[in-house]
């Protein structure tokens, strides 16, 4: 195994070395001015300081660890000194996102359907207002020209106009490279083709998607069992939720709109698209009249109004609905008056607020919301809660009165100890599908098993390297661009991930078709281009090929 890994690594590096050979040759022809083999800038200043590069351990993420190691070697090739630091997930997030104590950091950003509207990728991740401790703009990117666009797109109610702005924003990001956007890490989720049918892997989530869970159909009994390599923390929608929690909360609780398989919000508890008036400041939604909660109580417009007020009172989630100024209802319609224009309102608010029964949550004090335990977790969603023992299993039953009843009568989720352990469960018949991506070798085993198959899916989230622009020399665009040229993106997808995923050069994935700008500047592995970029930035190399500032 180790042998194979080394060969692969050498091969990937060789791909970049061709560029290097040309680069070095180019340098020597124009850079012998001082007679000691130095090149680049005419007069050399201080050596560029060592770069601290934080990457996941191979236990935390073997794929990203490998590309991290290769990238660091490439950076050394072009004259940087690199201090490579491998950390476990928690320590890594703490150092890079909370403490912001890093120069370069290789982490992922998840692409759940809730993030398919470009706002989070454009505004939250790159606007200068989100650079604080724990904020999403970890590089500390601050560009007034960009900020203007990020603010503008939020207010543009017309999708085509907004798209123009989002395109322009992507161009600026590609030019400035606050991060190297590496690849959208799509993958494979194995399932038992002999036991379940109507599998529907969706963008960003594969078999964990809402649409798969209501579509999947058992072939020999009435139950579908899935495995996932972690426990559910909570089913309380008012608590801080991790992605695996949300994937089940949304089965039990409905929303006015749901993000469809195509990534666009579609009416769910709402009858139709919202009526948008007042230049994008008023949204009116008519709700369905055929909905009941799992305890038989009807879902009324009062429940909807109650829900939005509940969110406004919630210490955890009030920011989600802070854009709403006032709510009024009439008949089966609810109208939201916004304080300012907010183009992603349907996707990011109406599509994410879970509908609560007032007769259960009505008496809960705001400060108790996140600790509240509704024993039966009554919602109005397509599945109703049956029973749950956190470390053993979660049992759901199809809600017969739902307008979109799931295909399976029962749905069981078991938490696994690890991805490979779950694969054993799949092979032995204890589970029907798993919501996690195994190692490439294990995927081959699935292919060879006639009872099993792999469901392939694309991703909108990505692996990326963030550069800490609060520090020199990473505040220099030339340096970041040069570093980006050293990242073997194609090789990452083709060899390290065995073909799973797609290379990206933009913050918006090509699979998010409407919003993706295909014409942004591209940074493929090219050490020659990296050196040229540094030369343009006024840097030079000493006799030992180490990088110096210009004098």
């Amino acid at each position: 195994m180790a042998f194979r890994k080394k060969n692969r690594r050498e091969f990937i590096r060789a791909a970049g070395a061709t560029g290097l050979a040309i680069g070095v040759a180019g340098c020597s022809s124009n850079g012998d001015g001082n007679g000691n083999g130095a090149s680049g800038a005419e007069e050399l200043g201080e050596q560029v300081r060592e770069i601290n590069f934080v990457i996941p351990t191979s236990g935390a993420n073997p794929f990203r660890n490998e590309i991290g190691v290769i990238t660091a070697e490439n950076w050394e090739e072009i004259g940087f000194e690199v201090d490579l630091e491998e950390l476990e997930f928690g320590a890594h997030v703490d150092k890079a996102v909370v403490e912001q104590d890093f120069d370069a950091s290789l982490l992922g950003w998840g692409g759940t359907p809730e993030r398919i509207d470009p706002d989070i990728f454009i505004f939250d991740m790159h606007h200068s207002s989100t650079t604080g401790e724990g904020g999403r703009n970890t590089p500390g990117y601050s560009n007034p020209e960009y900020d203007e666009l990020a603010e503008l797109q939020v207010t543009q109610a017309d999708p085509d106009e907004r798209r123009e702005t989002v395109f322009e924003a992507q161009e600026i990001l590609a030019r400035d490279q606050p991060r190297t956007y590496i690849a959208n890490e799509g993958g494979m989720h194995p399932y038992a083709s002999a036991r379940v049918d109507n599998i529907d892997p969706t963008l960003g989530e594969g078999l964990n998607s809402f649409w798969n869970m209501i579509s999947v159909t058992p072939l020999d009994d009435d139950t579908v069992t899935m495995g996932y390599p972690s426990e559910i923390i909570s089913l309380n929608p008012m608590q801080d939720l991790a992605t695996p929690d949300r994937q089940f909360v949304r089965l039990i609780y409905d929303q006015l709109y749901r993000i469809g398989p195509d990534g666009l919000p579609q009416p769910w508890a709402a009858v139709d698209e919202p009526v948008i008036e007042d230049d994008g400041r008023t949204y009116t939604v008519e709700i369905r009249d055929d909905m009941t909660f799992h305890d038989g109580e009807e879902v009324t417009i009062d429940d909807i109004e109650f829900t939005y007020n509940l969110y406004q009172d919630s210490p955890t989630y009030s920011s989600l609905v802070s854009v709403i100024d006032e709510i009024d209802t009439s008949g089966n319609e609810i109208t939201f008056h916004l304080g300012e224009q907010y183009a992603p309102f349907t996707a990011n608010v109406l599509g994410q607020v879970y509908l609560f029964p007032e007769h259960i949550w009505g008496d809960v004090e705001p400060e108790d919301l996140s600790d509240f335990q509704d024993e039966n977790w009554i919602g109005s969603g397509p599945f109703q809660f049956e029973d749950w023992e956190r470390q053993a299993e979660l049992q759901l039953r199809a809600f017969d009165d739902h307008f979109n009843r799931p295909n399976t009568d029962r749905f069981i989720r078991i938490p696994g100890a690890s991805v490979s352990q779950l694969l054993g469960d799949l092979e032995s018949g204890q589970i029907d599908f798993m919501g996690a991506v195994p190692q490439p070798t294990a995927l081959n085993r699935v292919e060879e098993d006639e009872d099993l198959a792999n469901a392939e899916f694309n991703a909108i989230g990505y692996a990326k390297i963030a550069y800490n622009m609060r520090r020199e020399p990473l505040d220099d665009r030339h340096v970041r661009r040069a570093l980006s040229y050293c990242v073997p993106k194609t090789e990452y997808v083709e060899f390290i991930r065995d073909g799973m995923g797609t290379v990206t050069h933009s913050t918006i994935s090509e699979h998010n078709e409407f919003w993706h700008n295909p014409d942004v500047e591209q940074f493929d592995l090219d050490l020659d281009a990296a050196r040229q970029e540094l030369e343009e930035g006024g840097y030079g190399w000493d006799g030992d090929e180490l990088l110096h500032h210009g004098a």
Partner: protein
């Protein structure tokens, strides 16, 4: 010194040990980078939500205040609430602790039963083919990694023969919860228990076997064994009543320590067989910076080690009258 004084002194020592142990745990966990919000940061928690949660948990307070608060809470017998699950720690721990006790208890019971018998016979039949073969088998068991033993058993009994389920504690889809008997009393449960317990038994067996054999060899060289033989007692009586009983003393110490350690569960066995026990919970709690759960888990496990050692000391006196309380 009488028994009573000895016990009182040992209990006072226990209190100091517990305090030192607990303080060390507290400091260690706070030194680990990250906090309970870390795991949510890439999952949608915003910077404001994070700050609010940290304040809610009191983690923005100076360390010594957090320490005093936790200490006073602990003195009232309250382990507090999980930072991640937001449920009482005791509810989370107790189920997993029981799961671990049942699994490890079974494994240890068979490991020591088989190990002691086997070791005694190996000592008795010194130099025989039985002894030589036994040593090889024992050393193989001792040097096999837990995960490997587990995977071999899985391959044979699950994937090849299909006799046992591959993971978990019971078949899915049935009624959840229930009391001790409902949980651990069914045939279904025993089927799930078999392979992980067997893995544990194989791995744990080597120590008592080798220890028992070695002590047996010492005891068998003692004069009184020759005398017993000379008295014409049946071989069986000499073996069990005299040789084996006198060799069992070190086993008691080792067993006490092993039991304590086993209560922490085996992360490896629990991972291979997806057994929801203490080991995995501890790893999860540490990874997620869920301090109250991690502290309680280590505390519980450490307590068992400390108490088992205490009991072993007491048992020595009973087993060997020559030992005195000093």
């Amino acid at each position: 010194m009488g028994l009573r004084e000895f016990v009182i002194r040992r209990i006072l020592q226990l209190v100091v040990t517990f305090w030192a142990f607990f303080t060390l745990l507290f400091v260690l966990f706070r030194l680990v980078p990250g906090d309970p919000t870390t795991m949510f940061l890439l999952d949608g928690m915003t910077a404001e939500q994070r700050e609010q949660r940290i304040a809610e948990l009191g983690l923005d307070q100076p360390l010594h205040i957090q320490y005093m608060e936790y200490l006073s809470q602990l003195l009232t017998g309250d382990f507090g609430q999980s930072f991640i699950y937001r449920e009482p720690v005791i509810d989370i721990i107790i189920v997993r602790f029981m799961n671990t006790i049942v699994l490890m208890g079974t494994a240890l019971f068979f490991a020591y039963l088989i190990g002691v018998t086997f070791g005694a016979l190996m000592g008795w039949w010194r130099g025989s083919r039985f002894e030589r073969g036994g040593i090889i088998v024992t050393l193989m068991a001792r040097s096999s990694p837990e995960f490997w033993v587990g995977i071999v058993l899985l391959s044979v009994f699950v994937f090849w023969l299909g006799w046992f389920p591959s993971s978990g504690m019971r078949a899915t889809g049935g009624e959840l919860g229930g009391g001790f008997v409902a949980r651990y009393g069914s045939i279904d449960f025993l089927r799930h228990l078999f392979l992980p317990a067997l893995t544990g038994a194989i791995v744990f067996m080597a120590t008592p076997t080798l220890l028992m054999r070695n002590t047996m060899l010492d005891v068998l060289n003692a004069d009184f064994i020759e005398i017993k033989k000379a008295e014409g007692l049946p071989e069986r009586t000499v073996l069990y009543r005299h040789a084996a009983r006198n060799s069992v003393l070190p086993i008691v110490t080792v067993m006490a320590i092993a039991t304590g350690a086993a209560m922490g569960g085996s992360v490896v066995i629990e991972t291979v067989f997806n057994w929801p026990g203490m080991g995995r919970e501890m790893v999860r709690a540490v990874n997620n910076n869920d301090y109250p759960v991690a502290m309680a888990a280590f505390f519980l496990m450490g307590s068992v080690v400390i108490i088992m050692n205490f009991l072993a000391d007491l048992a020595y006196v009973y087993l060997d009258p020559r030992v005195e309380y000093e």
